[in-house]
């Protein structure tokens, strides 16, 4: 249903007011509700507030870094801004804010490790990346042992996998 006041946004706040036995009901959106003095106490707190609460609560644990200076190098989102809106700017935010996000994710989620569906593309990439990592370790050993024939074979294998990875 639409907000009674602006008729634009969905009504998410319901409030019944009784004055001299006369009952009035209001269905408002959060924005219009905020403007009404009477409703201030009734606005349900949002997920943003909750996230921010968790972030602040864990501040002591991560005080090594100053969140004020933290910035995602890919999209430019800074941590203070994220705390305000509760939305990250891009996938790399997870990398740059990893330390700060970890305790939050631990609190709101059941686990910290995804066990569900893996997209086929990313899945293939993941497998190849793991394989390359393994082969590079083997290559290192082969070079140290001066097994050059073996090293050349491994190098070709790595190149082939890297080519496949590039094509994904």
């Amino acid at each position: 249903m639409l907000c009674q006041q602006c008729q634009k946004r969905p009504a998410t706040v319901h409030f019944t007011k009784i004055v001299n036995n006369h009952k009035t009901e209001f269905y408002l959106c959060e924005e219009c509700a905020r403007q009404k003095e009477d409703f201030k106490a009734f606005i349900p707190f949002s997920i943003n507030d909750l996230l921010t609460g968790f972030l602040d609560m864990d501040k002591a644990d991560v005080s090594v870094r100053s969140p004020g200076l933290l910035k995602c190098k890919t999209c430019g989102m800074d941590f203070v801004q994220f705390k305000k809106v509760g939305r990250l700017g891009c996938q790399d935010c997870y990398k740059y804010f990893a330390e700060e996000l970890a305790p939050v994710i631990r609190r709101v989620q059941g686990g910290t490790k995804h066990t569900g569906k893996v997209p086929r593309r990313a899945g293939v990439g993941l497998r190849i990346e793991r394989q390359i990592k393994q082969l590079k370790a083997q290559l290192q050993k082969a070079v140290e042992a001066e097994a050059f024939e073996e090293a050349a074979r491994l190098r070709d294998q790595i190149r082939e996998l890297e080519r496949q990875l590039g094509q994904l």
């Binding site: 996230l51 939305r87 990250l88 709101v108 989620q109 059941g110 686990g111 995804h114 997209p119």
Partner: protein, 343 residues
């Protein structure tokens, strides 16, 4: 087979089953900070991933840019639960792909680049996931998702990371509300990682005794585990609701039936109906139909009536915007019309 116009399993208590998954496109900023150009690119990529795919499914989809709809048309989609109110907030950059059966919708540039959902009538979460999983695979054929080995699908809000999945079941629980057991049920499900919301999502009141039960956790369990724990909880709630209905019917049969018939009477004759009152009365009638007290009306007719009498649907019906008071009058007229057709 839209959730509104078709009966599903347990439809006397479970109105619909919906699964939503959040996905983002690798390497692009999330919608909240994306430029208009990037947003447009996202729309094009997702549109093509469906409409130009080789799947037979793709032929059933229509593409709609929200910019091309007026406010009423947008909210009609919200009232049918095909898009979220949040998508309407971003109408300038948002679009949606919907299948003609109104089962699957793919929202573009909501909080995440892609939020696709599948909604089935009655209690059938497994089927909804089966179909949605296929649609997800089709989109993924041409789009690379933001994905992390440990965190799973990366989403704009950390509360959705992992599977990105929100499975929810819309339940009509007048028995539990009337017997006051509802709070203990809601308290219990919160202990197993589930949550309940009103008809219009977070923070909204449960109009007409309708609750949406959904999973809270998205990281850790698999999609199947999420659905399975929801299935177990919903089955128990159905059982509890049945017992509550029986208890109510037996403890004061006359009073129980009187309340149901009076609700139908008011709906048939009222000249003004607020949304709140309409939903409350409809809840009683729905209960009466399910208990076999009222004959000649079925759950589908009531679903259709419920959706037809939401504000945007009424405004579209009349063809202009209306004040809250006018809406109440038009709603009462429409309810009288529809019910006179039935009996």
């Amino acid at each position: 087979m839209s959730w509104i116009s078709e009966n599903g399993p347990y439809s006397g208590i479970v109105m619909s089953s919906r699964i939503r998954i959040a996905r983002n496109i690798a390497g692009l900023p999330f919608p909240s900070i994306a430029s208009i150009e990037t947003s447009q690119k996202v729309v094009d990529m997702v549109r093509k991933s469906i409409l130009e795919s080789n799947s037979i499914l793709s032929r059933d989809f229509d593409f709609v840019s929200l910019r091309n709809l007026n406010e009423v048309e947008r909210y009609i989609l919200v009232e049918k639960h095909l898009i979220s109110p949040d998508l309407v907030e971003r109408a300038e950059i948002a679009a949606v792909l919907m299948d003609r059966n109104e089962q699957v919708s793919i929202m573009i540039n909501e909080e995440d680049h892609i939020r696709m959902q599948c909604i089935f009538p009655g209690f059938q979460l497994d089927k909804a996931w089966e179909l949605l999983n296929r649609v997800d695979d089709i989109v993924e054929e041409s789009i690379e998702y933001s994905f992390d080995e440990h965190l799973g699908y990366l989403t704009s809000c950390p509360t959705n990371v992992g599977t990105g999945m929100r499975a929810s079941v819309m339940m009509h629980l007048p028995g539990l509300v009337a017997t006051n057991y509802i709070n203990s049920v809601l308290h219990t499900i919160s202990k197993v990682g589930l949550t309940a919301r009103g008809l219009y999502g977070e923070g909204s009141e449960a109009l007409g005794d309708i609750y949406q039960i959904s999973n809270q956790i998205t990281l850790g369990p698999t999609e199947e585990e999420i659905i399975s724990s929801l299935n177990i909880a919903v089955r128990q709630i159905i059982e509890n609701e049945r017992m509550a209905r029986q208890a109510l019917a037996q403890s004061g049969k006359l009073e129980f039936e009187d309340r149901i018939w009076r609700a139908l009477g008011v709906l048939k004759h009222a000249r003004r109906l607020s949304l709140q009152e309409f939903m409350t009365l409809l809840s009683q009638v729905r209960l009466g139909v399910d208990m076999g007290i009222i004959k000649g009306i079925d759950a589908v007719m009531l679903n259709e009536l419920m959706v037809k009498c939401q504000p945007a649907h009424l405004q579209a019906y009349v063809g202009r915007e209306m004040s809250a008071e006018e809406l109440d009058i038009v709603r009462a007229n429409r309810v009288r019309d529809e019910l006179s057709k039935i009996s």
